[in-house]
Structure formats: C-alpha cells, structure tokens
C-alpha cells in the first residue's frame, strides 16, 4: 500500500512528512476571565518534501496537486491508520539538481497540503 496517495494515485514516498493537527476553535474569556472554548472542528496540514525526484516523479506530484482540491490518503499519527480527506495545495517549490542530455532531475520538491 502506498504511503501517500493523491487523487487516488500513489505518490512517491516523501523524504520528509509531517502532520500538523489544528483544532479550529473560538476561544474567548468570559465575564469572570475564564477561557471558554467553542470547538468547531479539527483539521490537518501535511508538510511533504522529496529530496531528489526524477522528471517523471516531479510531473506525477505536481500534476496530482494541480486541481483546486483533491483527496489525500495518508498515515495519521492520531488514529494510527491511513485516513483520507480533501485537501488543497499551498505554494510548490522545486529546485533543479541537474540537466543532462536534455533530462532534468529535481531536488527539494516541497509543498504543504491543507485540509479543506
């Protein structure tokens, strides 16, 4: 089973992968000064990067995250299993490692996936 799938398609296993879990809440202090919390929901942000990627893998990755939103399956540390949810992609950064005989290789391809 693939470590990470985007839009139903298996992605290369990332070099770095971190899961941010954010509780979306509205916290205000009451008239006594005590914090009261209105919980809205919990969302995840995935930071993913690949140290070295081929031209084909770079295409696969960048093409997969091009739509406005897409479904991502990933291993979730809180539940200990693979979960799926809808995400959009932040800015993509990719550096070129070399360009030999008309073939490009890339390094440090990274982006954030933010849960909708």
């Amino acid at each position: 089973m693939a470590f990470l799938t985007i839009g139903g398609k298996a992605m290369p296993t990332p070099t770095e992968f971190s899961v941010g879990i954010a509780d979306i809440s509205k916290a205000q202090r009451n008239a006594n000064g005590t914090m009261i919390i209105e919980r809205i929901t919990t969302k995840r942000t995935l930071k993913v990067s690949w140290s070295y990627v081929s031209k084909d893998d770079a295409f696969t990755l960048l093409y997969a995250v091009a739509p406005t939103s897409f479904r991502v399956e990933f291993p979730d540390p809180q539940f200990g299993t693979t979960i799926a949810s809808n995400f959009y992609c932040g800015d993509r950064n990719v550096g070129m490692m070399d360009y030999i005989n008309g073939i490009a290789r890339y390094k440090d391809l990274q982006f954030d996936l933010i849960e909708l």
Binding site: R29, N30, A31, E38, R39, I40
Partner: protein, 940 residues
C-alpha cells in the same frame, strides 16, 4: 424552553463545547436546478437485540420449508451474539442451519429507511409530510438506488431437480379405457422428503372436479373426478404458492385399482404460469397402464450449493429474482432492485433475504453470513439539507413583543457555500416567482453531546481503596485457604486487603500470594479480578456515552456493542504439587471460559484477549477474570501469586449530536457573491408577509374567528395557526375598515392580552399572557421577588434561583456583564372605547398607582376591538402591570438554543441582584461555533 436531555444540560454550559448547524430549504414550486445527490451506508453495527434506538435496522432468521415473506411472524430476531457476528467485514460470521427435509436457512435484513433518512438529514427532510405514509411517499421521490451487499456462503446437499423452477403443475386427461371420465388420485411435488403439493387443492380447466380435496390429501388411493364424459381434454392445476427450484420429483397418480389406461395423458410444470415445460405426453411417449406406483418424473438440473440473495418486492408481494454463488467460501453478492420504489414497504422498511438451497434431509442446509450493508443513494430535489459542509454562517433572530406595540420580526441571515454553483441566481429562469413561492428554510442547531475517537481504555487497581468504589470501581477477591472448585462472581468471597490492593496497583515487582491450607488435598489457590466496565467507561467519557439511557440493562447493552474487545494483561505465577501450572479463565456471562494453562516458574505477563466483547461484560456491567493454581495434595500446598492486572477496553468511534429546531423562515432576498462563491439568503417570518396583505372585515364578532380569518387571508395555513381557545370567549366589534393583517394582529393581541409570536416550528401563536405565565413562572411581584412569585390566581412559585440550571445566565457564560436599561413608566393610560362599529370613541383614563408622585408619561391605546369599559379595565390592568416591568437586560453570551422567547430567566449582574426577567428577543450567531445575545424584560 424546549425539552432537552440531561446530556445536553451537561454539554451546553461546559467549558468546551461543539455545535453543529443545519438548514433545510424547501423549493417545491419552482425547482429549476439539478438535484443534490446524497448517499450513505447502513448496516448492523452497534445493533442491540430488541432495541431500535442505536440502530433501527433489524435482522431475523428462520429455517423453513416454505418461502417466508417479511410479514411472516415466525421469523426470529437475531440474538445479540448473532448481531455481533454480522456487524462488520471481519473474521466472525453467523451460521443459520436446518436439517429438515425441503427446508432452507434464511436470514432477513430489514433496513428502516424512513428512520435512517431522518437520522441522517434531520426531521425537516420530509418537508410538510408528517405521517409515515407521507414520509414514505416523499422518500420515494428522493431515493434513486438501493445497493445491498451481503457476504457469505451456503452449505447444502447437491441434487438433481427441476431447476427451471416449479410453481404450477398441470396434469391432462381425456377419458380412459373403462369410461369417458377423468380421475386424479394425487399430484405430488417432492423436494427430498417433503411433498410441497400435499394438501394443495387443485383447480380444473373446465367442468367440475368432484371430491377435489381427495386429490393431494396424501392418500394415493383416494381420488377426485370429473364426470362430464364429453370427450374434451381436461387438466387439473396445482399451485404451490411460490416458485421452487428444489423439486426433484413430480409424481402423478390416476385411478389405478382396475389397471385401466387413461387417454390424452400429459404432465407439465411452470415456474410462472406462462412458460410451460412438458415432462410427459402420451401423444409422444405412448399410453401406459396405471398402477399403485403412479408415474414419477425426475428433474435433470443440478441444484447444488448455492448462497442466494434477493429483495422483497412490495408490488408483487414476493421476492424478486435472486443473485447466487456456489462457492464454498465467503463471497460478496450485490442486489440492486431495478425499481427502488417497489421495495419500500408501508412500514418504511426495505427487506433483503439471504438463503441457502433446501436440503433433502440427507444433510444440513446452512448459510454463513459475515455482514450485510445497504448503500442508499438519491437526490434531494424540492428539499435540500445543508449541514456544516455547506453553511458558512447563520444568524437567527426571534422576537416576542410583550405589549404588541409592534409585532415581532423573526429573521434569518444564511450564508451558504456555493462553490459548486448550484445556487447561482442565473440557474433560476424566473427568480421572482421562486421568491414569490415563499421557499421555506428550516434551521436547526445541534450540540455534540458525546465525542470519542476509537481508542483503548486501560484500567487497573491504581488508587484502589478497599470497600469503596468511588476512587476505583474495580475489585479483587479470593477464598482464604483455597477451594476445591472454581470460585465465581455468584459466590461470597473475601475482598483483597488494602495492602494487597496496594501491591497490585503497579507493575513494580510487589507480589501478592495466597496459599492453600497446608496438608489439604484438592484445594486450588485462586484470585478473581472484577472490573466494573460501566464505571470505567463513564469515568473516562462521562454519562453521555449512554445516549440518554439510565437503566442498568440498557447501559450494559450499549457497552456490549460499543466495546469492541476486552483484553487483560495478568502478571502472575503459580506453584502446586504438579508444577507451575497457572490456569486463566474469563467469565462468559454464566460460566468460566478459556482455562488457558501456562507453566512459567516466574511472574510472567499472560495477555488474554477477546474478540467478542459482548460475551464478557456481564449483566451488571462487569468483566471477571480468574487465575488459579493446580490442586494441592496432602504434602504440598498450592499457591497463586500476582503482581499486576489490567483490563483494556477497546471502544469504537462515537459522535452523538442532539438537534433542536431554531426557526422556520421564508426566503425573501437572495444575493450571489461570485468572488467568494457564497450565497447570502435573507429570510423573514409570517409577520413580515402579513404587512403586505389586508384584511376585509366580515360579520364575525368572535375574536378567535377573526384571528383565524386574518391569519388565513395573510397566507398562514390553518395547520400553522395556534390560537388559544380563550379568544373564542371574547366578543368584539369587527374592524370598521380594511386593515393590514399585521396591524389587525396587533389589535387582536392587545384586545385579548395575548402574546403574538412565531414559534420554532413556524406556527403563529396567539396566546394570552395569563396562560404563558402559568407555565413560565413569570415575575409578578418584582419588588418582592425573593418572597413570592406566580401569576395571580395560580398560586405561588419558587424563585427561579441559580438552581434553575440552564435558565441561570451567569458570568461564566457571558462575554461581558449584561447591559441594563430602564424604560419610562406609564403614569396615565388612555383607552379609546368603540361601543359600535364606526362610532366615535369615548376615552377611559387609568392611572398607574405604583408610581409615587404626580405626572409622568401618558399612553393611548386606540383599538377598534375594545367595545366596552369592562374590557378596557382588564386591558388597562394588564398593560400597566406589564409596563412596570421596565428593566431591559441585554446579555452577550454563549447562547443556549433551547431558551425561547417568553422563558423566564435569572441573569447575574454586576450588582449581585440577579433579577428575574422574561426573554423578549433571542439572537443566535452560528459560524461553526455558537454565540448570541439574549434580551429580556423584568421588574426593578
């Protein structure tokens, strides 16, 4: 105040809480947009036998020689253990078996569609439908597809049958060698050892079948006959009542006593009465002499191992064509009814049936079922439900005017996510008509009363105090000196000492040991550990996990389906004359189960697992585990030692939401924000619409009749009018001229001293304050509120103190201290009295005796419905009394969706006076979280 559960009470003012929102839009008149697709799956997860609260679906089983419809009363509901086995795709499955000849094994899966839809989308999914029949009709307009999936296989003996299917059998005759008459002794249809035609009285094609009951009476020597002797071929027909594929033999007996031969003999069968298969025709095969053995025809198809799956079709009152497989291992079958509306029955259920082929009694016929699920798909067309995925913001205002100076104006501002574009204005060719059709928007607010992620809950003996269940609900037991039998939860046992509990608390090397009495044979050293599962769960997650149930039996039932597995870790060892055998068992409701033996000489952790948790939580909600040594002998004692014991309860996800209505509104404005892909909708109540329509007075003089006329002409359906009966006792002069319905309602409100408001379900209510006050405990003596409360004549009521629970708005729930303002009091009230219709009024002047001094504000009531001084006196008394409650509170706080206008609340203020007041305005702001403003009016 709306009613709510105790779980809601615990959640709504909790430091941390979570709300949900839901808006249901009805646009039936001018629906011009594509439907909104929905789908959800249901099954038998968390199903409790005999209960429909947690899971409304029901599964039943039967072994039967006949095809049983869902309405048959002989089905048995699955036991709890059976339900446990079919709830998921997992390693557990349920077997149903029979060995009765001609019988097969069946499981019936009944899905409560109406209840499931309502739980999924809320009660407003039905629009105006309220009866079950109407809801079913509505469901049929929405549901487009059912996909039932079952996983299982069957076991049954393979044999040769008429696999085209047999329901009808015809046997033709046309006289015989003795006379021209026709005689039938028996027509038999055999499935193994079962004659499916026995006692089925045949019909005849023409003429009269005398002694028809003799045919198929099981006696092959008695007969029925047809004696016209007219030389026309006749047949008798037997209807088996259903199509059977397991008929291996058809036997025909004609009159045989004198060895005659019949002419024109032909035997046919048919699965449907349309297609006929001929098994014998004397015109082809030649005539034969009748004997007492009859004539037998056998099927040639292979009726083998088959696991069948079908759906009950209401339109034919029969099961539809099944799908089947003949594998000897689990395999999935899918049943998709071609006409979904034909399978939803009058009780709101759809039924699917899995069954084996029947047995010939040589061996069993059985099915094994792992799970059955149903995917429900459809399209919301005239009713759309938007939940938190679609709602960006929802602002709700509800009002009640105390004195009817102005009628209330409830309002909803709803912002929906329109990224799909489905609500773009350009989709509507005639938007003005859409708006004119008054699309209804019904809103709800829900609070999450229980939210648990799937997890393991571990409990041990930490902090255990002997003889107390408060600090730690678990207990541990033994019998001093050992016993010759296994101790059980039913026995009177000795509880561990405090020091023993302390040793057991941690996995820290401290060991407790008991020994059997020295020089005594056959005694075992035993420890029994009892874990209070209900208390462990409740201490961890709160009482809301019981979903409103309070009885022990109900809590146990919930625990049995919510706890997925019960595991123990036991660090122990034993000594005995036979070595280091330690035996571990767990209590299986009525007896010890397991008896696993281990032999380590040192303390070792022995994990004991259970995949069927329901069996290991007893009727008191407890789980027990027993460790024991081998028996002692006359020389050597036995001992058992234990260092640490823990129980691990694995619970499933839980997400419970309790919903409350928060208003019914009519769409009046619709704004498209293309940039942000949102739609803003502004909606009002009936009162806003009433101002556009005028009422032409009739001859009616009864105030209730007039009120009904005004509301009806204003567009309020009769079903939405709640007019207190006391208004029918008030006789007035009707209005002299045409008047706006809204103004007319104001006059009616004052004339009857009533509140006029729209309630949460969209009803326009006209109800006297005297009636409201009886149930809301309104402040009548504001200056002495710590002593007396209550409407005159109804007795006194207790102070709505801080013990009033949700009606007490304290600083803990407020974002800031409440604003308090005072309105001017009325000193002089003038009421115009119109003794006859259109007459000039006479003035009646009243003075507010509660105001000390002279002078003050004056107010005139000019109401054509007031026709005499007696009425004016009552109105003046009420009006002045209400005006004295002139303190206005405005509280910016977290809000509570069950508090309504007219509720009397207690508000903490900076002066510590805590005045009672009546809510006159509620504002709810929902954007994923809830907050709002409550305004109320009370006395100084």
């Amino acid at each position: 105040m709306l009613s709510a559960s105790s779980d809601f009470r615990n959640s709504v003012y909790a430091t941390e809480r979570e709300f949900k929102g839901r808006a249901t839009i009805e646009m039936d008149a001018y629906n011009q947009i594509d439907g909104r697709a929905f789908s959800f799956t249901t099954g038998f997860e968390e199903k409790i036998n005999g209960d429909t609260d947690l899971n409304p679906n029901i599964a039943k089983y039967i072994g039967s020689q006949l095809t049983r419809l869902p309405s048959y009363t002989g089905w048995s509901e699955l036991t709890q253990g059976y339900y446990w086995n079919i709830q998921y795709a997992d390693s557990s499955s349920q077997k149903i078996t029979t060995s009765v000849g001609g019988a097969n094994s069946n499981m019936l899966f009944s899905f409560n569609i109406i209840e499931l839809m309502e739980r999924q989308f809320g009660k407003y999914i039905w629009g105006e439908a309220t009866t079950l029949a109407d809801k079913i009709a509505k469901a049929k307009t929405m549901i487009t597809k059912y996909t039932a999936t079952v996983n299982g296989y069957a076991v049954n003996p393979s044999r040769t049958t008429f696999t085209n299917g047999v329901r009808y059998i015809r046997d033709w005759l046309n006289g015989n060698t003795v006379n021209p008459n026709n005689y039938w002794n028996e027509v038999e249809a055999w499935s193994g050892t079962l004659d499916r035609a026995k006692n089925v009285t045949p019909t005849i094609s023409s003429g009269t079948l005398a002694n028809a009951a003799n045919v198929n009476d099981g006696n092959e020597s008695t007969y029925g006959y047809e004696a016209s002797g007219n030389g026309v071929a006749k047949y008798i027909q037997v209807d088996l009542g259903a199509t059977y594929y397991d008929i291996n033999a058809i036997k025909i007996f004609h009159y045989y006593a004198d060895g005659r031969t019949f002419h024109g003999t032909k035997t046919q069968y048919s699965p449907d009465g349309v297609t006929w298969y001929t098994v014998f025709d004397s015109a082809v095969s030649g005539e034969y002499v009748e004997t007492s053995s009859g004539k037998m025809y056998t099927g040639t198809g292979t009726y083998g191992r088959e696991f069948n799956f079908t759906v009950y079709d209401v339109s034919t009152n029969a099961y539809a064509t099944e799908v089947s497989h003949s594998n000897s291992t689990f395999q999935t079958l899918t049943q998709i009814p071609s006409a979904p509306n034909n399978v939803l029955d009058a009780t709101g259920f759809v039924h699917f049936r899995a069954y084996s082929n029947s047995t010939d009694a040589s061996s069993e016929s059985a099915i094994y079922v792992d799970y059955c699920t149903l995917l429900i798909e459809g399209e919301m067309t005239d009713v759309r439900v938007y939940d938190d995925d679609g709602i960006m913001a929802m602002n709700i205002v509800e009002e009640m005017s105390i004195l009817n100076e102005t009628l209330p104006a409830n309002q909803l501002d709803l912002t929906l996510d329109n990224s799909s574009g489905e609500l773009d204005l350009v989709n509507f060719a005639n938007m003005s008509q859409v708006i004119a059709s008054k699309p209804v928007i019904k809103t709800e607010l829900g609070i999450v009363t229980a939210k648990v992620d799937a997890q393991d809950v571990t409990s041990n003996y930490s902090n255990k105090i002997k003889a107390s269940l408060e600090e730690n609900p678990n207990t541990a037991w033994y019998v001093s000196g050992g016993t010759t039998v296994q101790i059980s939860p039913y026995d009177t046992l000795t509880e561990f000492t405090q020091s023993a509990y302390d040793s057991l608390a941690l996995n820290d090397g401290q060991v407790i040991t008991i020994s059997t009495t020295a020089a005594t044979s056959g005694k075992m050293a035993e420890y029994m550990f009892t874990f209070d599962v209900l208390s462990i769960l409740e201490n961890q997650f709160g009482t809301s996990i019981w979903r409103g149930k309070t009885d022990l039996a109900d809590k146990v039932a919930i625990a049995r389906v919510w706890v997925e597995s019960v595991d123990w870790n036991i660090w122990c060892k034993a000594t005995s004359p036979t070595g280091n055998n330690v035996t571990i068992s767990r209590w299986n409701l009525t007896s010890w189960y397991g008896g696993w033996k281990y032999t380590n000489a040192d303390i070792t952790n022995y994990p004991i697992g259970s995949s069927t948790a329901y069996n290991f939580i007893d009727d008191n909600g407890k789980s027990h585990v027993l460790i024991q040594s081998d028996p002692s002998d006359a020389v050597t004692s036995s001992t058992i030692s234990c260092e640490y014991v823990e129980i691990i309860l694995t619970v499933k996800d839980l997400n419970l939401v309790e919903w409350f209505p928060s208003g019914v509104f009519f769409l009046t404005d619709w704004k498209n924000d293309v940039t942000n892909k949102i739609i803003s909708m502004t909606c009002n109540d009936y009162f806003a619409m009433l101002s556009d329509i005028s009422y032409t007075p009739t001859a009616s003089t009864n105030l209730k009749t007039i009120a009904a006329e005004v509301l009806t002409i204003g567009g309020v359906p009769t079903s939405k009018q709640i007019i207190d009966n006391s208004l029918s006792n008030i006789t007035v002069n009707n209005f002299p001229d045409r008047i706006a319905c809204r103004d007319a309602l104001q006059h009616i409100g004052i004339a009857s001293r009533s509140a006029v408001f729209q309630d949460r379900e969209g009803n326009v209510v006209i109800e006297p304050f005297s009636t409201i006050d009886e149930v809301t405990n309104y402040v009548v003596y504001p200056s002495t509120q710590n002593v007396l409360f209550g409407y005159p004549g109804t007795g006194t009521y207790a102070l709505n103190s801080t013990g009033g629970g949700m009606k007490y708005l304290d600083f803990e729930q407020m974002y800031e201290a409440p604003q308090v303002s005072l309105e001017k009091s009325i000193y002089q009230l003038v009421i115009n009295i119109y003794s006859t219709v259109g007459a000039d009024p006479t003035e009646q002047v009243y003075t507010n005796a509660d105001i000390n001094g002279v002078g003050g504000q004056s107010f005139t009531i000019d109401n054509p419905l007031i026709k005499d001084v007696a009425t004016a006196d009552k109105i003046a008394d009420w009006y002045i009394r209400e005006m004295n409650y002139n303190m206005l509170f405005s509280v910016n706080w977290r809000q509570n969706p069950i508090l309504e206008c007219a509720d009397v609340i207690l508000i903490e203020d900076s002066f510590g006076t805590e005045k009672q007041s009546r809510i006159i305005r509620q504002e709810f702001t929902y954007d994923g979280s809830l907050s709002g403003i409550t305004e109320s009016r009370g006395g100084v």
